[in-house]
């Protein structure tokens, strides 16, 4: 009996050990259109709304527009090619870098100096990057064209927006775009279902390939359409903005006194559902990059 138990345990361990290693996807994902155009913008009206978990009444003075989806790999590749051509960014030691004028330093506990100089925008040698670089120009990896741009630092996200005359949203602007005027916890309402958004163990299509942590989904994926039998729920915010919960964290513009950290919003494919609530914050140094961090931009109303 004892021998059988030991043998069984060894066999179980062996079988588990021989399971295919799940890391980055072994093959590119199929190109998948969602019907949501990443080039479009949504109008967010100024005015009062409820900020944060405890619903503090807050006012935004003027209307603004926000990208309907997160910035995609295709968009960022196009930007990099333009920015390289104009000299806004340059490539140094497998990194795309660009100038940042620095932060005011207050000498607070754990605060680090962010000095003027060239800072990392994206690393070129990390397998998480969904862009190819042939030495002269960038292209998105096949299948990832309309996935959110990841592995981008706060500097890289800010530079993208400013290159086109836009900017990163403040945390307040981001939250109003996500929840609208009422106090809802998720962009679409009060409850979250697995097919509302891409989050940890949400059983989306990518999880079948890479496991519970999943991979990014194409931007605007959760719009009520069915993909290969996988039915999504229409999960736009009250202003028609997609992916404000899940898929990737989104960098916000704010620089706070006494801290070098930059904040991110929205939760990601690697987080449990409660991290997708609109008031949940994440933060990291401005030079942080990861496969679950992206961004979108805002701009002044064009008409």
């Amino acid at each position: 009996m004892k021998r059988a138990f030991v043998l069984l345990t060894l066999v179980a361990l062996l079988v588990a050990g021989c399971a295919p290693v799940r890391g980055m996807p072994p093959a590119p994902p199929p190109s998948m259109g969602t019907g949501i155009d990443p080039q479009t913008w949504a109008l967010v009206p100024g005015g009062e709304f409820l900020l944060g978990q405890h619903n503090h009444e807050t006012t935004i003075d003027c209307d603004y527009e926000v990208m309907v989806t997160e910035a995609t790999n295709a968009q960022y590749a196009r930007y990099l090619n333009d920015a390289l051509a104009t000299g806004t960014v340059r490539i140094v030691d497998d990194q795309v870098v660009g100038y940042y004028p620095g932060d005011e330093f207050h000498g607070c506990d754990h605060e680090e100096k962010i000095e003027a100089g060239e800072w990392l925008h994206i690393p070129l040698d990390d397998p998480g990057l969904r862009l190819d670089f042939d030495g002269s120009s960038f292209t998105p990896k096949p299948g990832y064209e309309n996935h959110p741009m990841v592995m981008v630092t706060w500097f890289g996200a800010k530079a993208y927006c400013e290159f086109y005359g836009w900017r990163l949203p403040t945390e307040i602007e981001w939250q109003k775009a996500a929840r609208g005027p009422d106090g809802r916890p998720f962009p679409w309402g009060d409850e979250i279902e697995p097919n509302n958004a891409n989050f940890y163990s949400s059983h989306d299509l990518s999880e079948k390939i890479v496991g519970a942590l999943g991979d990014t989904t194409p931007v605007g994926f959760y719009n009520g359409r069915s993909y290969e039998g996988y039915q999504t729920l229409d999960s736009a915010s009250p202003y028609g903005v997609y992916d404000m919960a899940g898929n990737v964290w989104e960098w916000a513009a704010d620089v706070y006194e006494g801290a070098h950290y930059r904040y991110m919003r929205g939760g990601s494919k690697a987080n449990y559902a409660y991290n997708l609530r609109v008031w949940t914050r994440n933060n990291a140094g401005p030079d942080y990059f990861g496969p679950s961090a992206g961004f979108r931009c805002v701009r002044a109303v064009t008409e």
Binding site: H110, E257, G258
Partner: protein, 502 residues
């Protein structure tokens, strides 16, 4: 009727029965509320549980619910430790009975009404009753501190082998100091809680770690939760010391260290609000003697296990392997001390490493990852304390022979597997990049889940055994009751025996 009355006496008037009820309730709460997160939530069990029980889960109230849940479990754990203390430390019968009755009523009220308020609608009256229950627990603590007063003549040390100063029993003084520190520290949290809704907003400590400017109320809460868990840890160390009849030179060094550590660390935590930058230094200073005291208990206890094990087999000149065999022969006694050692690998060591290399290792991660490390840190510490309580309780209820060894080793191996894997998971960014972490995540999560599930199965089996036993007319419970297990008489016997011993 007599059958019910007998069982009531066992469950609510004997130390073993009282501890059994509290452990059973904690297990039940863990079994039900454990489905609301982690793998069981992923498998859809959460949705079923919410539907079946009619829970009302509002997203914005998640943090508040969790805080209520922590408090209800903590009250029961504190009650268990108090039962053990009133049983182990000499005191008068009426003191013992009053303390046990008060804390039992307190934690039961806090648990039922706290969970009812938090998870099944928000009837404000229930919140009030929850606070009343917590107040009873606090009042029981005041009674305990009074009963433990170490300067009473009848409790002076007679045996010079035990730590003493001017005849005062330093171990009793240590129990007293921890009780007083716990009372003050719970007030520290209660005062802050009284601002709830009028300037104080619910938050989880791990969510404000990187805020450059924390409010006084936030600092107070951070201090409260850290010191309460620390004091629970100190108490279980003292209880295990009693179990091993800790004495001799190491005892004489350890007890003053424990007392000094308790005082310094508690005052330092209370000072967190006005003097945050300096308080941390004193917290580290206070932690060192407390941990040294625990180390001395481990050295004493392991030496004792080896000596007793060898003597039992009549071995006078033992080889290394014979000593090792004697050391690990009884997993309950060995395990209770081993878990204290293992804690250094998964909690203290990691905590010190994190503190020392904060800027280079932790603060380069996103906050959500540092948060995972922090929550893992204190979940593991809580769980380690729980396993030590279980080992002591399993010994008290007379787990013997093969069952004792299977239960003990199952809990040691599987809990350490889970804690070790969870530690690796929480520190994963030190070994792998975010892009390449999936295999490590898969393995560590699997091992953690397997380890925890095994511990829970062992605990459930243990609880079911005791539950079925209650349905037997002449079950183990009846033997324990007949053997004079009523808390009053039992306590007197134990106290007298110990007084004679001392």
């Amino acid at each position: 009727m007599q059958a019910i009355s007998k069982r009531f006496n066992y469950l609510f008037r004997s130390t073993k029965g009282l501890a059994l009820v509290a452990i059973a309730l904690i297990s039940l709460v863990a079994a039900i509320w454990g489905t609301l997160s982690g793998p069981l939530a992923e498998w859809g069990i959460k949705d079923i549980m919410v539907r079946v029980l009619g829970m009302d889960l509002v997203e914005a109230e998640r943090e508040g619910r969790i805080i209520m849940l922590y408090h209800t479990i903590a009250m029961a754990v504190v009650a268990i430790e108090v039962y053990f203390i009133t049983d182990l430390v000499p005191m008068k019968d009426h003191e013992r009975a009053t303390i046990n009755a008060t804390i039992t009523a307190g934690y039961l009220i806090a648990m039922f009404f706290g969970l009812w308020y938090a998870y099944f609608g928000h009837e404000r009256v229930f919140h009030g009753i929850f606070l009343f229950g917590q107040s009873l627990v606090f009042f029981a603590g005041v009674l305990l501190a009074a009963a433990l007063w170490p300067w009473k003549k009848e409790y002076r040390v007679k045996d010079p082998d035990y730590a003493h100063a001017g005849g005062v029993d330093l171990e009793r003084l240590a129990f007293f100091m921890v009780a007083v520190a716990t009372l003050g520290s719970s007030l520290f949290g209660a005062v802050t809680g009284s601002y709830w809704g009028s300037g104080h907003e619910t938050f989880l400590a791990e969510d404000v770690i990187r805020e450059p400017h924390k409010t006084a109320l936030q600092l107070a809460i951070l201090g409260h939760l850290h010191i309460m868990l620390t004091l629970i840890g100190m108490d279980i160390t003292l209880i295990i010391g009693r179990w091993f009849d800790f004495k001799g030179l190491l005892h004489k060094i350890a007890m003053p260290l424990m007392i000094v550590g308790c005082i310094v660390i508690t005052l330092a935590v209370w000072a967190l609000v006005p003097y945050e930058p300096y308080a941390h230094i004193f917290i580290y200073v206070g932690a060192v003697p407390s941990m040294l005291a625990a180390l001395m208990l481990v050295i004493f206890g392991w030496d004792k296990l080896i000596r007793e094990g060898l003597a039992e087999h009549g071995i006078t000149k033992a080889s290394f392997w014979q000593k090792l065999k004697a050391l690990v022969y009884d997993p309950l006694r060995f395990g209770s001390l081993w878990q204290m050692v293992f804690m250094n690998f998964t909690v203290s060591g990691v905590g010190i490493f994190m503190a020392v290399t904060l800027e280079e290792t932790m603060r380069v991660m996103p906050a959500r990852e540092e948060r995972i490390t922090l929550t893992g840190h204190w979940h593991i510490l809580s769980a380690i304390i729980a396993t030590i309580i279980l080992f002591y309780f399993a010994d008290r209820v007379g787990l013997k022979g093969r069952v004792r060894r299977w239960f003990g080793w199952l809990v040691i191996v599987s809990s350490d597997l889970a804690f070790g894997a969870a530690t690796v998971f929480s520190l994963k960014r030190l070994f792998v990049s975010e892009s390449a972490q999936q295999p490590l995540v898969n393995w560590t999560v699997l091992l953690t889940d397997v380890g925890l599930a095994t511990v829970l199965v062992a605990l459930a089996s243990f609880m079911l055994w005791r539950l079925f036993d209650l349905f037997r007319k002449e079950g183990r419970w009846a033997q324990e009751l007949a053997a004079g297990e009523l808390a009053s008489s039992e306590g007197t016997t134990s106290a007298l025996e110990r007084e004679v011993a001392r």
